[in-house]
């Protein structure tokens, strides 16, 4: 299995209410994560890959794979584009 890794030297984060705010240290750009995005962010631990994140979300939130798969893919792509994660 190939896990997704957070590039922890590039950002800092803070939980405010039920949102997670992630800031790129080099640019100061903010990313506010709430709802499913915050849950996915918390799941990225270097072990889980995209499919295992999808499987856990289906179990936790009782949603279909067809529904959740594109959301996860899109969000991970955004994180990748923002330079916050890489594939191990």
């Amino acid at each position: 299995m190939t896990g997704i890794i957070k590039l922890t030297d590039r950002y800092t984060e803070a939980a405010i209410d039920d949102e997670i705010v992630v800031m790129r240290i080099d640019t100061g750009d903010f990313f506010a994560l709430s709802g499913t995005a915050a849950v996915i962010w918390a799941m990225i631990d270097g072990q889980r890959d995209r499919m295992s994140i999808v499987a856990e979300l289906i179990e936790q939130f009782d949603v279909s794979e067809r529904e959740i798969q594109p959301q996860v893919g899109q969000f991970l792509h955004q994180l990748y584009q923002a330079g916050l994660i890489v594939q191990a």
């Binding site: 803070a14 405010i16 039920d18 949102e19 800031m23 240290i25 100061g28």
Partner: protein, 284 residues
């Protein structure tokens, strides 16, 4: 009884007259600019009017021949006080505030947003002023944020004076179109915990809405003037500034107060703000 932070700021803001350096580094300061280096702050006002602070030694004012003394209190109570607070770990916020139920309700916004006018109007509704223009926060207790009582006198534009019922005092200075004013309900002179920070905005409707999450952090970042002083004093890098503002965002309840800038509806706005504060005081 005064808190350790109150005693410290009293001690550190004592003023004496004497010669001061013309710069802390680099070239001599231009008019109305400042420098900060380690535990020192130097500000030059108009002409040869210098204010120098060094931690543990208080503030020294150097009045050159062309110093405008009518501006001295403004510099002293404004940027100089903010720098002294920041160098000693206190956080100045650009806000005016009232107190009710043993807590502080602060209003913030850019210059001209109506912070002082609203606080004066709330005085007319029986809420005493806590501070005008600058709210100083003590973050030494990790579990709560304590506000130090205001060090500035209330300043109002003449038209605001008529709207609010505050009592007119002398003119602020030759260059500022404001007068000092006494708020109708008096003021509070002891430290209190912060209840809420309310951002003032213009809009057609009259409403107070809570804000949460990342929006709190974003709003705090807009307070450039005071953030800059605190960041420079504490030598915060971007991550340190983020961590500092995140703590404030987590611990301070925040709201947006939207109201039209319409003289005819001004009293309605003050009533809405007062109702919000009274309701907040009834909540546990």
């Amino acid at each position: 009884m005064k808190t350790p932070a109150e005693l410290m700021i009293e001690r550190e803001t004592r003023v004496s007259l004497g010669p001061v350096p013309r710069c802390l580094f680099g070239d001599p300061l231009g008019e109305t600019t400042w420098q900060m280096l380690d535990d020192e702050f130097l500000l030059r006002g108009e002409g040869d009017h210098y204010f120098h602070y060094r931690k543990g030694f208080g503030i020294t004012i150097d009045r050159g021949e062309d110093a405008d003394l009518s501006e001295e209190a403004l510099w002293l109570n404004g940027s100089v006080y903010g720098a002294v607070a920041s160098l000693n770990g206190l956080v100045p916020i650009h806000a005016s505030a009232v107190a009710l139920g043993g807590r502080v309700f602060a209003f913030t916004g850019p210059a001209g947003a109506g912070k002082s006018t609203l606080v004066a109007a709330l005085g007319d509704l029986g809420l005493p002023m806590f501070c005008d223009d600058t709210l100083v926060l003590d973050l030494s207790d990790p579990d709560r944020i304590i506000c130090l009582p205001g060090h500035k006198r209330m300043k109002l534009r003449p038209d605001a004076l008529e709207l609010t019922g505050a009592v007119k005092q002398e003119e602020v200075s030759k260059t500022v179109d404001k007068v000092y004013a006494l708020p109708s309900a008096g003021d509070v002179s002891f430290a209190l915990p912060l209840a809420c920070l309310v951002f003032l905005e213009e809009g057609n409707s009259l409403k107070v809405e809570p804000i949460s999450g990342a929006e709190r952090l974003r709003r705090l970042q807009d307070d450039h003037q005071t953030s800059q002083l605190y960041g420079a004093a504490q030598q915060l890098d971007r991550a340190g500034q983020f961590s500092h503002l995140s703590r404030l965002a987590r611990q301070i309840d925040m709201a947006v107060f939207t109201r039209p800038r319409d003289v005819m509806r001004f009293k309605d706005g003050a009533t809405v703000a007062a109702s919000y504060i009274e309701k907040a005081c009834q909540e546990p």
